[in-house]
């Protein structure tokens, strides 16, 4: 077999089965949707943490901080971020990450057990590629804005930040990201590891500068960017919702990163160091900077805060951090496409897959009003689908399946697999997601961002999660299981953690 080598007989190998696992460098399963063996996992706790921090402390965290600062002041912003991110990061660190790390499965392959093969493909295309392209465009536009500011200050010119120059620089960010991604996940990890410490330094630097110029009481007295509100409680709940949505936005990325971790703890806890603590810290810095300067645009903070020289250096690092964030989520989406995109994409070369993800982003950078200038609503659009999706996956894996999935069944064709449901689609799971999404839209209008009266007590993401979870549980117990669909009766055979029987 090309690319593999027989390593030993059944008795000689640790697994007890016929061993044709490849030697390192001959067959890289991390760039396929194949289940990874334990020996193939490449990230320990600290390596996963470095990637996670690199992913978290990008300018999207600063954007998040600025969006929150629009509604509330410093103290309520910090509370809203910790509460909102804490709840949603806990859920996304469990639902997609735990099945992926346990079985080494790509996360969209994993949700075939919940949604069916065709259903998983629908979500993969909707969630992974569209959102990845949109987020990449946001980051690339920020990269363009930042670099225009750098050029203006270094060369004494006055290019407009929102002009064609910024879009062209954003396009360069996309091209560079594609060139690095084409080399695979090891290069992603190396770039993130180099940038993460510099980003932490910048975050700490901004905190020091802001606090050296303002006392705590002065900072807490600052009014939100949107001005004083008649209903501060509603504004606080909107800020919590923004952060819940921000946390759920990590759903498409985290499972495939956790898949590369060596232990369940190395898959779970780095999310708390990265997408929780680092995100909250960076967003809190964004809140402090935005409120103290009364400026919402993050690329306009660095030079007023740190002076031209340090400000330009900080901006360059932040621009590079945007690249690391594009890389991390680009990798996750490419693995997803490889696994769930059908025969055509399965055969596609790794660089071509990068083009599928980043190609739409290269177009979107020329339309910044579509995503970048409507950040709050854009995050909310993601949460409408992602919160219920996370709920259905959580209930299915942890409650209905008791953390057992048949890896063989995930890869069996429609008709043969117990996860076939109705022609490859679990209509019950889709109905549950729709119920959750409808709940969200009733509580917080995704177009006008107008909240319903009940929103001030519940937020929108949490009821959407709860409704989707309850709907999936009930529909599965009442409709799916009685028809013998979904393999919910399968349990592991004694002595094997993965072989299943009724």
């Amino acid at each position: 077999m090309a690319g593999t080598e027989r390593l030993g007989t059944d008795d000689e190998t640790r697994g007890g089965g016929p061993s044709v696992l490849p030697r390192q460098g001959q067959f890289d399963a991390t760039v396929t949707d194949l289940p990874l063996m334990r020996v193939e996992r490449i990230w320990n706790f600290w390596q996963h943490s470095a990637v996670n921090v690199g992913l978290a402390i990008a300018t999207w965290a600063f954007l998040q901080g600025a969006a929150v600062a629009y509604y509330v002041g410093v103290k309520q912003a910090i509370a809203a971020m910790i509460i909102g991110y804490g709840i949603s990061v806990l859920l996304v660190a469990l639902a997609p990450c735990m099945p992926s790390v346990k079985h080494g499965i790509e996360q969209f392959v994993g949700i075939r057990s919940t949604f069916g093969e065709r259903g998983a493909r629908i979500f993969m295309i909707l969630v992974s590629t569209l959102l990845a392209a949109a987020w990449s465009a946001v980051l690339a536009i920020m990269f363009g804005h930042g670099l225009v500011t750098v050029i203006n200050n270094v060369f004494g010119v006055a290019m407009p930040e929102t002009g064609v120059a910024a879009s062209l620089l954003g396009l360069i960010a996309i091209v560079v990201s594609w060139a690095i991604l084409a080399r695979g996940p090891v290069s992603v990890e190396a770039v993130c590891r180099a940038i993460a410490p510099l980003l932490i330094l910048i975050v700490v630097g901004i905190i020091v500068i802001v606090f050296s110029r303002n006392s705590w009481s002065e900072l807490t007295a600052l009014v939100p960017l949107g001005g004083e509100s008649d209903d501060p409680h509603l504004n606080f709940m909107l800020a919590v919702e923004l952060n819940l949505a921000g946390g759920f936005a990590w759903w498409p990325n985290l499972g495939n990163l956790a898949r590369l971790a060596k232990t369940p703890r190395a898959a779970f806890w780095p999310n708390w160091i990265g997408v929780f603590a680092a995100s909250v810290a960076a967003a809190a810095v964004g809140v402090l900077a935005a409120l103290s300067l009364q400026v919402e645009e993050p690329t306009q903070w660095m030079i007023p805060l740190a002076g031209v020289v340090l400000g330009v250096i900080a901006l360059i690092v932040v621009c590079l951090a945007n690249i690391t964030a594009i890389l991390s989520q680009g990798y996750a989406s490419m693995v997803a496409l490889k696994g769930g995109g059908g025969a055509l994409l399965r055969r596609a070369a790794w660089p071509l897959l990068g083009l599928v993800i980043l190609g739409p982003a290269a177009v979107l950078v020329f339309f910044p009003e579509a995503v970048y200038e409507n950040y709050g609503r854009f995050v909310s659009w993601g949460a409408i689908v992602l919160a219920p999706l996370c709920a259905v996956q959580f209930v299915d894996y942890f409650i209905l399946r008791h953390r057992h999935i048949s890896v063989r069944a995930l890869y069996q064709p429609i008709g043969e697999s117990p996860y076939t449901y109705w022609r490859g689609i679990n209509l019950a799971a889709f109905a549950a997601v729709a119920a959750g999404a409808g709940t969200y839209a009733l509580l917080l209008n995704p177009l006008s961002y107008e909240p319903a009266p009940l929103f001030r007590y519940t937020t929108a993401s949490l009821p959407a999660f709860a409704v989707a979870a309850a709907a999936h549980y009930l529909l599965t117990r009442l409709v799916v299981e009685p028809r013998g669909l979904g393999g919910y009766g399968l349990r592991p055979v004694a002595g094997s953690s993965s072989r299943m029987q009724s």
């Binding site: 067959f27 396929t32 289940p35 020996v39 309520q76």
Partner: protein, 54 residues
């Protein structure tokens, strides 16, 4: 990548995972105490923050 190589690899990997020593190829479950610790810490932190920020 050759589809046949991928198919062969998949078959071999599933055999490993379904073998009697599959635990050596799988990563285990996250201990329940880790999840409980997270939930408790989050609940406590939320209560403290709501008291502090209001």
């Amino acid at each position: 990548m050759d589809a046949q190589i991928l198919q062969d690899q998949l078959e071999q990997r599933i055999k490993f995972l379904e073998s009697s020593n599959s635990a050596e190829h799988l990563v285990g479950d996250l201990p329940a105490r880790d999840i409980v610790a997270c939930v408790l810490a989050l609940t406590l932190m939320t209560a403290v923050l709501l008291w502090w920020a209001y």
